[in-house]
Structures are given as C-alpha cells and as structure tokens.
Amino acid sequence: MTIVPSIKRDYLANMAKNGKRADGRAFDEFRKIEIETGIVSKAEGSARVKIGNTQVLTGIKMDIGEPYPDTPETGVMTTAAELIPLASPDFEAGPPREDAIELARVVDRGIRESQLIEVEKLCIEPEEKVWMVFIDIHILDYDGNLFDAASLASLAALMTTKVPAKRFELGEDYPLPIKEPPISCTSVKFNDVVVMDPSLDENEIAEVRLTVATDKNEDIRAMQKGLNGSFTRDEIKKVIKASIDNGKKIREQLYKSIGK
C-alpha cells in the first residue's frame, strides 16, 4: 500500500538498462548462500540459511497425534511462518498477515505437493496415532527473497530431522523419511527486466514475482506468481530455465552442507 519509491526504481532501472545490478550480480545470479544445520538443540531438526543478508531459521518439532479421518494412515504436517518484528522495521507483531500466510502456504505446498516427507511412513497406529511434523519458519533478518530462504531452510531442517521415537518410548530415533527435494528459485520483474534472487531493494520495486520449484530431473514441482504485474509467456519460459540452472547448484550445496 506504500507509494512506489520512484527514485530507487529509476536508479535500479537505469543500471538494469546497462545490464547491471546494484550489487554487481548477473541478472540470473544468486547471492552467496550459507546453510547451517543443527542450530536448535530443543528442535528435532533445524537449519539457518543465509542468502546474502537475508537470514531464516526453520525449526522442526515432532509430536504424536491423531491422523485426519480421511487419511488414517498418514502423518500430519503443518507449516507456519512468522514475520517477526525482529527481522525488519516493517514487520509487526500480531497474527500473521497476508504476506506471511502466502509465504507459509507456498513453502507448505512445496513440501506437501512434492511429497517430500514420506507421510505414509509416519503412521504409528492407523486411525489412532501418527507422527505430526511442525515446520516453524522464523525470519531473522529480511534483506529480500524470503521465499527461497524460507524454503531452503525448511528443506535443510527436514533433511536433518530425527524422529524422536525414544522420547515417546517407540524405539530408537531415526531420520525423518525424506525424498528428493525440489529447489525453489524466485525471480522478479521491474521495468521489463527479470532478475533472480531479488535483493531487498529489488523486492521493493518489483512489479511481479515468480517462484519456481524444480527437481533434479528438471521437472517443475510448484509455481507461484505474486504481485499485481504480469509476465509474458516468453518470460515465464526463461524464468523456468534459470530456476532449473540455479536449482541445480543450490541442490549440490544443500547436499554438501548436510553431509550427503
């Protein structure tokens, strides 16, 4: 609802006309990514991801609960995101707002629809007891491109999560059963230029946003367009291509960082 910061827009658009970004990156280049797991000892899994100065911490808690009546033999997963006022002068305390809800739902669907967690292996007793997986995303420092940082932190946390079987007297702890992760890459467009991994400034002047999650087979696993601008069909194709390329590199780093 704020007035477009037109000076910032002009400056960045002018640079872009000359093929440049303010921080020297290529249009399809991510900032430096850091992935660190095992941050929170009370959590069953946790990871802190930095993309540039953006910093997201995801913690995974597990508990035992009842399955949904229509899926009596599958575990339950829930994703919540909080844009806590710690992370930005613009975030406010209180119940999650549209932005946080969209973020949580996009991360949630990216995990749920790609069937990343093998929820059918999380049944303890059909209709009675299943494992519940709580994915809580905390934005610690907001410097653009929340979607990819939140998604990557959640993947890293889930891939290093131990099912706390011992605490519930169900045998030894074991790793949460996980399939191949799809990697999310987000692009934004302003003044007819499309850039990958938007910085905070680029995020603020973005007219339209597209997040594409792709897997190691280069298949598309999820997409979400945001903001009130539009894409042409051709732009969408290019964004998909760039998302696959970047996804490949990020996937390698993810596996490396969790020691696989």
Partner: protein, 241 residues
C-alpha cells in the same frame, strides 16, 4: 493423496468430457439489487456470486493510497458449500486466494483514476466443486464491468492439469483430488499477459507447455462467455426501459 481411481474410460473422463473440454459454464451479470455490479456464475458444480462496491473512499484512512485505488477481493466459501461444513470466516487458504485474485484484478483496473479509493470485490462461493478460484476471478471480472469500473481488459481464468499422465482442461472434483498436477492461470485475453499463475504437482517442461496452452485455450472460450453475459445485461436493461 493420489490413489488408484480410474480417471479415464474409453478416452473420456469420469464426467464424460473429452480431455480438452470445459465443464458447463453459465454466467449472468446484474443479478443483485444493492451491489454496484454483480455476477452469478455456475461452472460445473461450482456456484459463485460476486458483488462489487466502489470506487469509494478507503476506510480507515491509513489504508488509502494517495496515487491510486486499492482493490480488495474477498474470496469466501459459504459454510455449506463443501462436504464437511466449513467454519465461517477466512482461513489461510481463502486469504491466499483473496490475495492472488486481488493482485490479478489490480493489474487491469485503471486504479490511477481513483486515488484514495477502494474497490471491493466480494466473491461468495455457494457451492464448491474444483476450480473455485478460476470461477471466482472470472465472475469478478464480469461484476466489475457490470459496476462500470474502467479496465484495460476483462481478465479471465481457467486451469489445466494432469491426470493419469494426460494433460486435460479444467479439472473436475475427482480429477483434482486424484490427479497429479493442477495449473490455474488468469490472463488478459487481449495481450495474453499472465495475471495469475500457480502450479502444484509434477509436470515435465513439455507437459507444462502443453498444459499452459490448454489453459490459454480455455481462457479464450470463457472470455467469449463473459462478453456474451455482459451483452445480455445491456440488452435486457435497454429492453426493460
């Protein structure tokens, strides 16, 4: 989630449709008395009512944008519109859908003409099958025309998806539940600009292209139905005078 139900029989879908066939769609504009613009739309088993109010002053004031109108779509499912009663009030799903529809509509409305105003688009899903967000956006566009809100184009929405490895148009209920991908889009039909795009599931790049083409085709068919509905209203209005 994806089980072993057969979704095709002799090349036809469960409800008898061909892969590239839409469900039945009926659109009627100007159906409400109080609203400044309205539209009732049936799309397969979906029934959607839309009412538009505005442009009027945005309240409270701190929500106003001094340079343009804000567009507030409010997608809501009636408690009785689904198999298991839904608790009244917005949930996370409806708030996300409200957001993406608001953004798509804002793209085509000439918001600069109405600084400090709000344009409210109330979308009530009375009966829900699959594809309520496409139905809601499509009906909202007609209601905006009915309200006389100036727009660059009349947006339109449709989905394609994948069931049993086939790309099909406009998923029905079981297809949505047991299919393997859903791709709802909304476009500005005059330019082909993409205003809404979401995808859940699993598509190869080739499948994505095919699904996207099919959804585009659906959009253009529905765009004609929108225009027909608008025309009928004008005619019945002049006929009534």
């Amino acid at each position: 989630m994806k089980s072993e139900i057969k979704l095709f029989e002799n090349g036809k879908r469960l409800d008898g449709r061909m892969p590239d066939e839409l469900r039945n769609i009926k659109i009627k504009a100007g159906v409400l008395h109080r609203a400044e613009g309205s539209c009732y739309l049936e799309w397969g088993g979906n029934k959607v009512m839309v009412a538009v109010y505005g442009p009027r002053e945005a309240i409270p004031r701190h929500t106003q944008n001094p340079l343009r109108a804000i567009v507030t779509a409010r997608y809501n499912m009636a408690a009785f519109s689904v198999d298991d009663r839904k608790r009244p009030g917005p949930d996370r799903r409806s708030r996300e859908i409200s957001k993406v529809i608001s953004e798509a509509l804002e793209n085509v409305i000439l918001v600069e003409k109405f600084p400090r105003a709000t344009i409210d688009v109330n979308i009530e899903v009375l009966d829900a099958e699959a594809g309520t967000r496409c139905a809601g956006l499509t009906a909202a566009a007609v209601a905006l025309v009915d309200a006389g809100i100036p727009m660059k184009d009349i947006p339109v929405s449709c989905a394609a998806g994948k069931i049993e490895d086939q790309i099909v148009l406009d998923l029905g209920k079981d297809e949505d539940n047991y299919g393997s991908a859903d791709l709802p889009i909304a476009i500005s039909p005059r330019t082909g600009d993409v205003l809404l795009l979401q995808m859940d599931g699993h598509l190869t790049q080739e499948e994505f292209d095919k699904a996207f083409d099919l959804a585009l085709k659906g959009c253009h068919i529905i765009s004609d139905l929108q225009k027909k509905a608008i025309l009928e209203t004008y005619q019945s209005e002049s006929g009534g005078d």
